[in-house]
């Protein structure tokens, strides 16, 4: 039973500091491509969009784990599969020891209160026709947790003051449109934390907000995660941001992990040519460090028919013949630092 990918998972889970909360093994999500009637008749093999294509990792209790990558890399799909908002094609997600991909909806419901999501756009993720109190209380009502209206209001007030919407009485009966973007995102954070979850997926939680208020929302989320000793998967295209807040970062490209390492180490000493390209492309607010370094050319290819071998070989400055033929495995290059590249094998 000592097959290669399994032994890899073992080593990766050892990097988790403390207890393991989530263990993901060989997770895949392929979306079938919609075709016309005749195409279905004529072509034999079905085409799929390989949004997530074989990802394994573990997340520790209280860990902040960042998923970085360009749009189309599959990071959002992965986040949704982890919460089972989307059913995976294959693979498993063990949450507190149980594989949630095989549970029925009824079995899943009690676990749902422990798994929450914060969406990107606070303008669209809040029902405009509900007052803040109802928005934040909804999870309590769905899970039938609070007893009586008085307790609901008590808990809503408590969580609103935790997210620094203070005094909470002033916000209870307001509508989302009366709040600023930052305040709205605080409401979505409150809604995510009201059930005291142990696992949160935050999908680009600040990319719609103004720069000057991003930090306070990020800091709030980190504080809430610590206070509730929850783990968070932080999805972001902004690898500079991920560096400052995450414990570990995984760099995704076309549905696969290219590199996985402690945050600062990954950004300061990236091993994979793609991570290197991604990091050197980040603009720096210093006029003297103009990005004279070579920017890699091209754009992320289609996930319908990803390149053979290493998916990055079409854009990689170091690509050689082996990269076209053989897919590199995610291997441990140094302690806790994993990379999927033939340069390191």
């Amino acid at each position: 039973m000592e097959s290669k990918p399994d032994s890899q998972n073992d080593t990766q889970s050892r990097d988790v500091v403390g207890d393991e909360l989530l263990r993901i093994e060989n997770l895949r999500k392929h979306y079938p491509l919609r075709k016309g009637f005749f195409e279905t008749l004529l072509s034999k093999n079905e085409q799929t969009v390989k949004a997530v294509d074989g990802v394994s990792f573990s997340v520790g209790k209280g860990e902040i784990f960042a998923l970085a990558g360009e749009s189309g890399s599959g990071k959002t799909t992965l986040g949704k599969v982890l919460l089972r908002l989307v059913q995976p094609t294959s693979g498993s997600v063990h949450f507190q020891g149980r594989d949630i991909t095989t549970l029925t909806d009824r079995e899943l419901k009690p676990l749902r209160r422990l798994m929450q999501i914060v969406f990107q756009d606070p303008f669209e993720s809040l029902n405009p026709r509900l007052i803040i109190k109802e928005i934040v209380a909804e999870p309590l009502r769905v899970q039938r947790i609070a007893k009586g209206e008085a307790e609901v209001e008590e808990r809503v007030k408590k969580i609103l003051s935790e997210v620094e919407l203070f005094p909470p009485e002033e916000y209870l009966y307001r509508y989302p449109h009366e709040l600023s973007g930052g305040q709205r995102q605080r409401v979505t954070v409150a809604r995510a934390f009201i059930l005291d979850p142990s696992f949160i997926v935050a999908d680009e939680p600040v990319s719609m907000l103004d720069v000057s208020i991003r930090a306070e929302i990020i800091n709030l989320m980190i504080d809430m995660v610590k206070k509730h000793s929850a783990s968070i998967i932080f999805i972001s295209h902004d690898i500079a941001l991920a560096k400052h807040i995450a414990d570990r970062i995984a760099v995704m490209y076309l549905g696969k992990f290219m590199e996985l390492a402690p945050a600062q180490e990954l950004v300061d000493q990236p091993l994979h040519p793609y991570s290197q390209a991604l990091i050197s492309a980040v603009p720096v607010p210093d006029p003297e460090s103009k990005r004279t370094k070579d920017v890699i050319s091209g754009e992320i290819p289609s996930p319908i028919d990803p390149p053979s071998g290493c998916r990055f070989h079409t854009r990689c400055p170091y690509a050689h013949e082996r990269c076209v033929r053989e897919e590199p495995q995610l291997v441990e290059a140094s302690k806790g630092h994993y990379v999927a590249c033939h340069l390191y094998t």
Binding site: S212, E216, N219, H244, A281, D286, R291, E299
Partner: protein
């Protein structure tokens, strides 16, 4: 073929530009007393958060404000001519040939039912009525080459282009009538960092090769630091700091500029707890009195609430700041 002249004459002088929008609740003071220069062949960055008035300034320069928008005061002297009093017919001669703009949201700015090459050809034909079909084709091919797209792709539809290519095609279109100045409104904002870096490199390249003057509008200070010679930082409709890029980023003087630079997580250096500027950008229907930043400023003094600071040169040359601290 135009020759590159490094004469450093201002090609654009904006003086006390004030643009307001009429709404049912009153005038929104989107830009107040904005003044800056762009020298020939140079790039100016206009930076600030959403709602600070930077796009309004760009739209005012071309006089393509949405309904309700009106330039209430000021001068826009482009190539020796004030654009503010010009009629719509006269402005049409300035747009595209004089000043051209690449809009935000590259993904949606091309018409999905026409070939990309035809859309660019259309822009050429409008400005040169007697141009022949084959000549237009040649010009389109040249423009494609200039922005780094294979000319054979002219027969493709926009959906066959990637995001970065669509952005390039839009830049090609903006260059169709050989403008002297290009305005980029958040170029590359909707694109991924690698493609964004490619786009910015293209813009720098074009500026050097064609001697284009540029105004780059962005909320991302790093983009401006890397691309522009001069920077104007806007807050709540006003320029609060204005100067040479080097001086401004080395020694930011306005508390808002300092806060904004700090708010960007840096890819370099040690991990730190991120900092933000407390409070919200103000409502431009009723902007704060005197210094508009005073409700959020960590160094606020009594005078800041009473008297408006002027944009003046203090410690460094070619570096102006509007703040009572100096």
């Amino acid at each position: 073929m135009r020759f590159v002249v490094h004469s450093l004459m201002p090609i654009l002088q904006v003086e006390e530009l004030t643009t307001h929008y009429r709404t049912q609740r009153g005038w929104v003071r989107a830009a107040e007393g904005v003044s800056f220069n762009v020298d020939e062949g140079q790039a100016l960055g206009l930076a600030g958060e959403s709602g600070c008035g930077k796009s309004t300034v760009a739209l005012s320069l071309l006089k393509i404000l949405p309904s309700g928008g009106r330039i209430r005061k000021g001068k826009i002297i482009f190539d020796g001519q004030d654009l503010v009093p010009l009629s719509e017919a006269e402005m049409r001669k300035i747009r595209w040939k004089g000043i051209s703009i690449v809009f935000q949201g590259a993904m949606n700015a091309l018409n999905p039912v026409y070939k990309v090459g035809d859309q660019i050809a259309e822009a050429i034909k409008i400005h040169e009525h007697n141009i022949s079909g084959s000549e237009t084709k040649e010009r389109v091919a040249k423009l494609f080459e200039m922005v780094g797209i294979e000319p054979s792709r002219a027969d493709n539809y926009p959906h066959e282009f990637s995001g970065g290519m669509r952005q390039r095609a839009l830049i090609a279109m903006a260059l169709a009538a050989n403008p002297k100045m290009l305005i980029g409104d958040e170029p590359g904002t909707a694109l991924d960092v690698i493609v964004q870096a490619q786009t910015l490199r293209l813009l720098r390249d074009l500026r050097d090769r064609l001697g284009l003057s540029m105004i780059l509008i962005s909320h991302d200070l790093s983009i401006i630091a890397e691309t522009c010679d001069k920077v104007a930082i806007m807050y709540a409709g006003k320029i609060v700091e204005y100067g040479d890029t080097n001086s401004l980023f080395k020694n930011p003087q306005h508390p808002y500029t300092q806060g904004l630079i700090k708010a960007f997580p840096s890819i370099k250096g040690e991990r730190v707890r991120l900092t933000s500027i407390p409070g919200q950008p103000p409502d431009l229907l009723h902007p704060p009195a005197a210094c508009r930043f005073h409700p959020r400023c960590p160094y606020v003094m009594d005078i800041c609430k009473k008297e408006e600071p002027l944009l003046l040169e203090h410690t460094e040359k070619n570096h102006n700041v509007a703040c009572h601290l100096y």
